[in-house]
């Protein structure tokens, strides 16, 4: 019971800290689920992020459904998913009421706060990179996929469809592993 409550609160905090898109949220999700709640391991966190990036939907919602289900079955998944969606929508509703129909007042105010958050968002992305880059160090195969992916992102084909690149990355890793070319799992 207390666990369900803690889970609900964790996902509410995640939703309120999710500024600037899914990738920015990764350090926050990691902090709440791995460090604070200790509901999933570092390894499961990375697997969860991988799954979230190749399935539809926002990463915060994907994590909520994933962790919620593992903690408490379908009710857990519903609870966590609801908690990650609800708070921002409440904020928006409050904003709409406060701006009381005056066009561009709400969005104008917000534009200033976005400028204020920009350096912090960049910092979060760098932290997310450091967090995810961990397993690359011990594995030449993964390092190769990383570098090639970085180059592939210059191509419009992948630039506009990152999930395509991710699927390709996974497939290449699988091929390298099955052919015994390089050791993927080491590290």
């Amino acid at each position: 019971m207390t666990n369900a409550f803690a889970l609900a609160l964790a996902f509410m905090r995640i939703s309120l800290g999710a500024f600037g898109g899914g990738l920015t949220t990764l350090p926050l999700i990691h902090h709440e689920l791995v460090l604070k709640g200790q509901w999933i391991s570092e390894e499961t966190f990375r697997e969860l992020i991988s799954v979230a990036q190749i399935t539809p939907g926002p990463v915060a919602l994907n994590s909520a459904t994933f962790v919620g289900y593992r903690m408490g079955g379908l009710p857990g998944a519903l609870l966590a998913s609801f908690c990650v969606l609800f708070p921002p929508l409440l904020l928006i509703s409050a904003g709409i009421f406060l701006a009381s129909g005056q066009k561009n007042r709400f969005s104008g105010t917000l534009r200033k706060s976005v400028d204020l958050l920009a350096p912090g968002v960049a910092a979060m992305l760098l932290m997310a990179f450091l967090k995810l880059a961990g397993p690359l160090k011990g594995s030449p195969g993964l390092m190769a996929i990383f570098v090639i992916s970085l180059l592939c992102l210059r191509l419009p084909l992948f630039r506009s469809r990152p999930p395509l690149l991710f699927l390709l990355g996974g497939t290449v890793a699988l091929v390298i592993h099955l052919t015994g070319l390089m050791d993927i799992l080491a590290g």
């Binding site: 969005s107 204020l116 350096p119 992102l153 390709l168 890793a173």
Partner: protein, 178 residues
């Protein structure tokens, strides 16, 4: 547009919106703006709000466009339609691949490959954001460094982010409310 049609529209778009908010935005522009259900100006204002309010840009976009189309009920129906496909997909994935003693080594290797590519995207986006920061002013960089330091001390990222925004506000010298 009936509520059922609204629900089905967002359900369909969300199912194909791999890659999140940006992709959904493109779909919505095609389905709503080009068909004259929403003006381009409305869409721009909605986008500004959706990206600056915390939370998933997808859900925020659905809520705001749904509200514009069918009022508060429409807003909730649009969010439900948007949230349901990812919810179902993750349930299926967890049940099929993440049970006892799973994921299997094959899946594990596949996901490691995925994460290597995701890491590349994260770095790419991070560098993009860094490039967008004004180079002639020291303030943003000061904020950037302090947020990184705060996160490294193990403080909650949300606190670090708010601290950074507060510092930015102080440094900017404009004390007025944002």
């Amino acid at each position: 547009m009936t509520l059922l049609k609204l629900f089905l529209l967002y359900f369909r778009l969300s199912l194909w919106a791999f890659g999140g908010g940006v992709v959904l935005l493109r779909f919505l522009e095609k389905e709503l703006v080009q068909r004259g259900l929403l003006s381009g100006e409305d869409m721009r204002e909605i986008l500004t709000i959706a990206v600056s309010i915390p939370g998933s840009i997808m859900a925020n976009l659905a809520f705001l466009t749904g509200k514009r189309l069918r009022g508060w009920t429409g807003a909730i129906v649009a969010v439900a339609g948007t949230a349901l496909p990812p919810f179902m997909v993750i349930l299926i994935v967890v049940r099929c691949f993440f049970g006892e003693g799973m994921p299997s080594p094959g899946i594990r290797v596949f996901l490691l490959g995925v994460i290597a590519s995701v890491t590349a995207l994260v770095l790419d986006v991070a560098l993009d954001r860094l490039r967008q920061l004004p180079t002639h002013k020291p303030q943003p960089w000061l904020v950037l460094c302090s947020v990184i330091l705060l996160v490294l001390t193990g403080i909650h990222p949300l606190v670090a982010l708010s601290g950074g925004a507060g510092l930015g506000l102080l440094l900017s010298g404009r004390g007025e409310k944002t």
